[in-house]
Structure formats: C-alpha cells, structure tokens
C-alpha cells in the first residue's frame, strides 16, 4: 500500500449532492483547498474526486457559543478534530474498480458513492498519472497512438496534467477568463500542442496580432515567440494590414483583401449590432441582391441620393431604411482592406494551405475592431465551410481514408460577437459550433464573457479551459452542459488571476485545476524549436560526421 496522506473519512453524502468527509485531527483545514484532487478508497472501488467546499463544524453548539480563551493553545489543540472539526465537500468524478481484472481497469464516470467511513486520501503523483496520463506530445518521444499534451501541473504537485488532443479537436472548445487572466497565453499553448502533434490544422483569426509573431507577455513583459517562429513554415502568417506587419519587422506570407463582391447579406446581418442596423435595413438589402446579385454592395455604395430614392420606389423598400443602410455600410467600404472587386484567389490560397496541412494565422494589424474582425472571419469561414461540406460528402461517398478531410480547428476571439443568441442562428460560426463536428471542422472560441454566447452553442462545447471568472452569469455559462457543474462553481472563483485555469470537459477525464505550463525557452524546445546558432551547430556537427574534418 502506498503512503498517501489520509485527510479524512467519508461520513455522508449522495451521488447528486456530493460527499461530506470529516477531516482527520492531523489534517489542517487550512491546507484543504477547493479544487484539490483527492482519492477515496472504497471497499471495492477507488473514487477520484475533487474538493468543492471546506467547512467548519462542531459536535456541540455549546463549544461555538463559549469558545476557549484566545491564547489557550492547549484547549484549541484538544478541541481541534474532536469537538470542533473541519469537513470537506467532495465531488466524486471517476471510479476505478479495484477488484476487476487488469484489462478492464478503466476509469469510469461515478455511478455510486463509497461506503460509510471510507478513508479519503490526498492524491499522489501516481493517481495523477493514472487519470491524466503522460505527456506524449512534448517531452520524450513515445510510441503510441494517443496524443496527450501537458497543459500544466496541478496546483500542489509536480506532475503533468495532460489533455487528449485528438479528443480535444474533435469538438468545439472554449477558452474563457476575465481580461488579463492569460486567455491568449492558454490558447497559444493549446495551438502549439495541436500543431506539434498534428492533431488538426489550425486557422487562427488573430485580432490582436498575438499568435503569429513575437508579442510582449503581459505577465513578465518579455517578448515571447509566436507560432510562426516556433514552427517555421508549417505555419503561414497572413495579414490584412501589411503595413503594420512590416512595421513590426515581419514579412507576411500573404496579404488578404476583401472585395465588396464577396460580402453577402449574411455578413451584414452579423454586423447588425456593430453597425447599429435595424432589421428592416438588413431585410432591404435582399432587395438589392435581387436586382444586382453579387454586385449589390458595390452598387449600393455607388448610389447617390437620387438613385437610392428611385431604387426604393421601384423595389418597394423603405427609403429611410435604405438611406440608413447605405450610410452605415459606407463604413465597410472605407475599411483599408476592402476593395471594389477581388477574385477569390487569396482566400483560395488560404484554403489550399489548410488542405495541405499548413496552419494559417490571419493578423488584423490595425483593424483590430470587431467590425473588421467579424466581417473577414465570416467571409473566410463561409468558404471553408462550403469546402469542408463538399469534401466530407465526397469522403462519405468514397469512404477512402485519403479522402478523409483533415480535422480543422478555427480559432476566434471575442466569440460572443459571433455566437450571441441572435448571431449564432445566422452566422456560419453558429452552424459550425452546432453541427460541423460531423464535417471535421471545430471552433476554439476565446472569450471573456461566456454568458454572451448562445446556450445552445455553449452546451455543445467539448472542452473548456477556464481562467478566473467572477461574474455569476459567466460562471453559470461555463458550466452549461456540465453535469453536476453547480458544485464546481466555487472552484472557478477561487482561481488565481494568473496562469491558473480549470480544465473540464471532453479532453480530460475529470475537471482539474492547473498551473498552466510556462511559455518559455523550455517550452520552445519541447515544441522542437531551435535557435539559429543551435541549428548551425547541429548542421556543423552533422557535416563533421558525414565528411570529417
């Protein structure tokens, strides 16, 4: 039997409400922390569980009414653990049949509770490894099909906590947290893992230019490497704003321009809130489409007051609504990356890169406003959506493995702008979040306000990586679609504002709090990155080996 620290004894509880354990006199209530991983040794099963609450209790009301005098250490040490004691609430998550044969010793979701007075132990490294596996993506190369990636370490131990990346990319995922809690840092970690493990191809809509190239870390103030630097030509960096990119001494792999002919009513509808459009105005744009087809926006923007009135009269549109529509859509025409007519070549290039398994990061440069972001992301994603739909249909027809589309993950920031209850029903992102899993496309949504996202979408999110959130509604939103989530709420509000996150969902066997891995030299190395002079040294060494002096 291993020597684990016994912290308490199960005294009551239920599967739905969670268990209550009385703490041992030797276990200080102050060292119990919400979110700690504990193991309950039942008679036949081990239960892997989380502490969800810590409480003080007393056998007798009298003790509480007449506590021992302040400085009486002796009385305190006697009462602690006998008359007064701590209890912890424990949420069992997984169980393991101890008696079953080795082959089917799988971890299963809990379906029962341990018997009375089962001992509760603090989990040790072996328990973590059993539940969260070993890192097979970074670290030592291992033979094995599964792609486990270390996202960090538990709060009180030096063991890796790993996610199953293949499961991760199978469904849409979310990274949530208040502003400044390290969402983009967590996203960079996950993207690195996915790129390194080839679990999926990534398309990142990089609103604040954080993923492709060097950015300053909010925490340390140091500059950290972007994915383009870490993974070299496997990652392509496109930009909407070549000037801004060049100002940062970076050469983009391509420049994206959007033509007015590529903008559809759907895109405008998505911007309804941003542009403060009425729904009448949006509907009138269909009248324009009826007449001018794909040139509708171009024609609208070119109309003067007179022609606009004429058009309204002829088509039966509301003249004021048409005028408002034109006034507001003028803003789109003025965006620097919007041209009158653009063929699909750049977008096709991006799509081809993705098809060939190269990851694409699209920087927005100075257009880091939601308007440009939503517009561009929607246009590009719609194209990819069509493509993947076709590819999947073909694959279903031929059933050849080589026709299987590559798993694609699209990263979007400020996701509540795309996926709020109104937009989620109209935009391509809503569709992807709801059903594109079948078509090998999933989303990685990064957001600071998960409560703004449509609940239907939220409930479909597979894995959630959540940094600190305070707002009650946001916390509620994160636990949408998580059974027994209510019990875990306390964990989220108790996270440190930096580098700590709660990971729950499809890619981890049970919810876990982690200290996120550092995004530093060691990480770059684990991801296979080598500095230039190091590469040179290696090349030199190889040359020596081949040709001698």
């Amino acid at each position: 039997m291993r020597e684990r620290q016994r912290i308490g004894t199960v005294i009551q509880g239920s599967l739905l409400e969670g268990l209550t354990a009385k703490l041992e006199p030797s276990a200080s209530v102050e060292s119990m922390r919400v979110g700690n991983f504990v193991v309950i040794e039942g008679q036949k099963k081990q239960f892997f569980s989380l502490i969800t609450d810590v409480a003080l209790d007393a056998t007798n009301e009298q003790v509480l009414l007449d506590p021992p005098a302040g400085a009486d250490d002796f009385a305190n040490s006697i009462l602690a653990g006998t008359s007064t004691f701590g209890t912890v609430k424990i949420a069992p998550m997984l169980m393991l049949d101890v008696e079953s044969s080795l082959e089917d010793q799988g971890l299963r979701p809990v379906k029962t509770v341990p018997s009375h007075f089962s001992p509760v132990y603090e989990a040790d490294e072996d328990d973590f490894l059993r539940v969260f596996q070993e890192d097979t993506v970074s670290g030592v190369e291992r033979v094995g099909k599964k792609k486990f990636f270390e996202i960090g370490k538990p709060l009180n131990m030096e063991v890796p906590v790993c996610m199953d990346l293949e499961r991760f990319v199978e469904r849409s995922n979310g990274i949530f947290g208040k502003s400044g809690t390290g969402k983009s840092f967590l996203a960079r970690l996950m993207l690195s893992g996915i790129i390194k493990s080839h679990a999926a191809v990534n398309l990142v809509f990089d609103m604040h230019n954080e993923y492709g190239w060097e950015t300053q870390s909010e925490e340390s103030g140091h500059f950290v490497k972007g994915l383009r630097q870490l993974f070299g030509p496997q990652v392509l960096s496109y930009t909407l704003d070549p000037e801004s990119t060049r100002n940062r001494n970076v050469q983009p792999d391509g420049v994206v321009v959007i033509g007015l002919n590529q903008i559809q009513v759907e895109d405008v509808a998505l911007l309804q809130e941003e542009l403060n459009l009425t729904s009448t105005a949006v509907e009138s744009s269909y009248l324009l489409v009826d007449r001018y087809r794909e040139r509708w926006l171009q024609e609208l923007l070119n109309m003067d007051a007179e022609t606009l009135r004429d058009f309204a009269r002829e088509s039966g549109a509301h003249p004021e609504a048409m005028a408002a529509l034109k006034r507001k859509l003028d803003m789109i025409g003025r965006l620097g990356f919007v041209k009158e007519h653009v063929d699909d070549s750049v977008i096709d290039e991006i799509v081809r890169s993705i098809e060939s398994g190269r990851h694409v990061i699209l920087e927005f440069g100075r257009y880091d406003n939601p308007r440009a972001y939503i517009l561009v992301a929607n246009i590009i994603t719609r194209r990819i959506h069509d493509l993947y739909r076709k590819k999947t249909e073909r694959y279903q027809q031929t059933k050849k493995p080589e026709d299987r589309p590559r798993q694609l993950m699209i990263t979007i920031e400020e996701a509540h702008k795309f996926l709020n209850p109104v937009a989620a029903r109209q935009t391509i992102f809503g569709t992807i979040a709801r059903e594109m899993r079948k078509y090998f496309v999933t989303l990685l949504v990064i957001d600071q306000r998960p409560s703004g996202i449509d609940t239907e979408v939220l409930s479909q999110i597979g894995t959630k990586i959540t940094a600190l959130l305070n707002d009650e509604k946001d916390i509620e939103a994160v636990f949408t679609g998580v059974s027994g989530g209510g019990r875990l709420k306390g964990l989220l509000a108790a996270l440190d504002p930096r580098q700590q996150a709660l990971v729950l969902g499809y890619a981890v066997p049970m919810p876990v709090e982690v200290r996120a891995r550092s995004y530093d030299e060691a990480f770059y190395k684990a991801m296979g990155h080598r500095e230039r002079d190091e590469q040179r040294r290696e090349a030199e060494k190889a040359r020596m080996e081949l040709f001698g002096e």
Partner: protein, 211 residues
Amino acid sequence: MTHDLSPVGRVLRSSTTEFVVGCQDLARVPTFGSFVKVKAHDGIWVYGAAYNVLIDDDPFVRQIIGNPHIPREVALDQKENRQTPIEVKVLVLGYARDGLVYQYLPPQPPATLSDVYPCTASEVTAFTDQLSYLRTILFTPQIPADELLAANLREAYLRRGGDREFLVEAGREAARLLKDEYDRLKAILSRIRPSLFRSSTPEPARRRGVT
C-alpha cells in the same frame, strides 16, 4: 513480579468496581488520583486510582478532641501510629496480566489483606498508553469524577516525564467522551493545562529561581 516500592497498605474491603485500602501512615497514603495496584488471583494485578481518603475518628480522638491542650506526642501518634486505619477508596480502572494491560473490570476483586502498592513510573506509562480507562472515571456515579480525572492525568503527565503529547491525546479522548457536556470538558481542561505545571516541572533552571 518484583516491586520497586514497598506497600502503602492492605485491602480492607473490595468489590469489582472499587476497593478500600487501609493505611497506617498518613505520610504514605496514596495521593488523590494516583495509581495503585494490588495482586488478585491468577496473576492478575488490579489497577486503580485513589479517589477518597477517609481519616476516621476513634473513641480516643472523640475523648480528647475537646481538650484545649493536646500534647504534641498524641497528635503525632494520630499521624504515625493510628488505632483505626486511614481508609483510601480506590476506583478500579483495569488490570494487567502477563505484561498486558486491559482497561476494563477484572474478573475478580482483590482479596482482603492483599498488599497494595503504588505504581512505578514505567507501570503508569504502560497503563496510560491506552486511554479507554478515562471513560470509567468520567461515568462512574457518585465520585468527584472530573476532579479525579484531572488529578489522575496530572499525575500521569508528571510520571511520564512531562509528556505534553500525552496530555493533548488524553484531552482529546475526554473531548470525545464529553461531546455533549462541554462545560465538564472545559472544567477538566482548565485543570490539566500544561502551564499549571510550569513551577513544578523538574527543570533545574526554574528550581534555582525559586527561593
């Protein structure tokens, strides 16, 4: 079994739960709460704690009590060479056989006139390694249970060489037993605080400070 100490008296009366020791010399009477032992049948040593000392009068004392000037030798005689014995009641706490301690009542009480010995430090330590005897003291009716327990624990603490850990453990056992009687518990705890022993712990430095 050998004894490091000479007997304090003999058994005057005995029952399963308690026995009375008749002592001759007031100076050697077991103190309140201290451990004594007496041999019963079958190699059993019955252990108990002294809890009530009765110094009974005799006809001579009755006669002389009103005398304004009692001669010194008479008073001394009453202390050292009494006509009637000093009676010490002992609460039976358990017994030992073949070096093993059992903290429940012995199968038979000790016979009258058996020698009663004070317990040595090692015997006290061995006996108090278990604490279920606390229950016997706390829940025996019609004895000053709280005072007896406190005195007994103080005694054990000192005989164990000032073992604070022991006091805490014993206090916890008492707290478990008195979970519904917090006032009693508090009274007991206030009587066994280690700080009470500060002046009497055998620390040379402290001793020197006392004049």
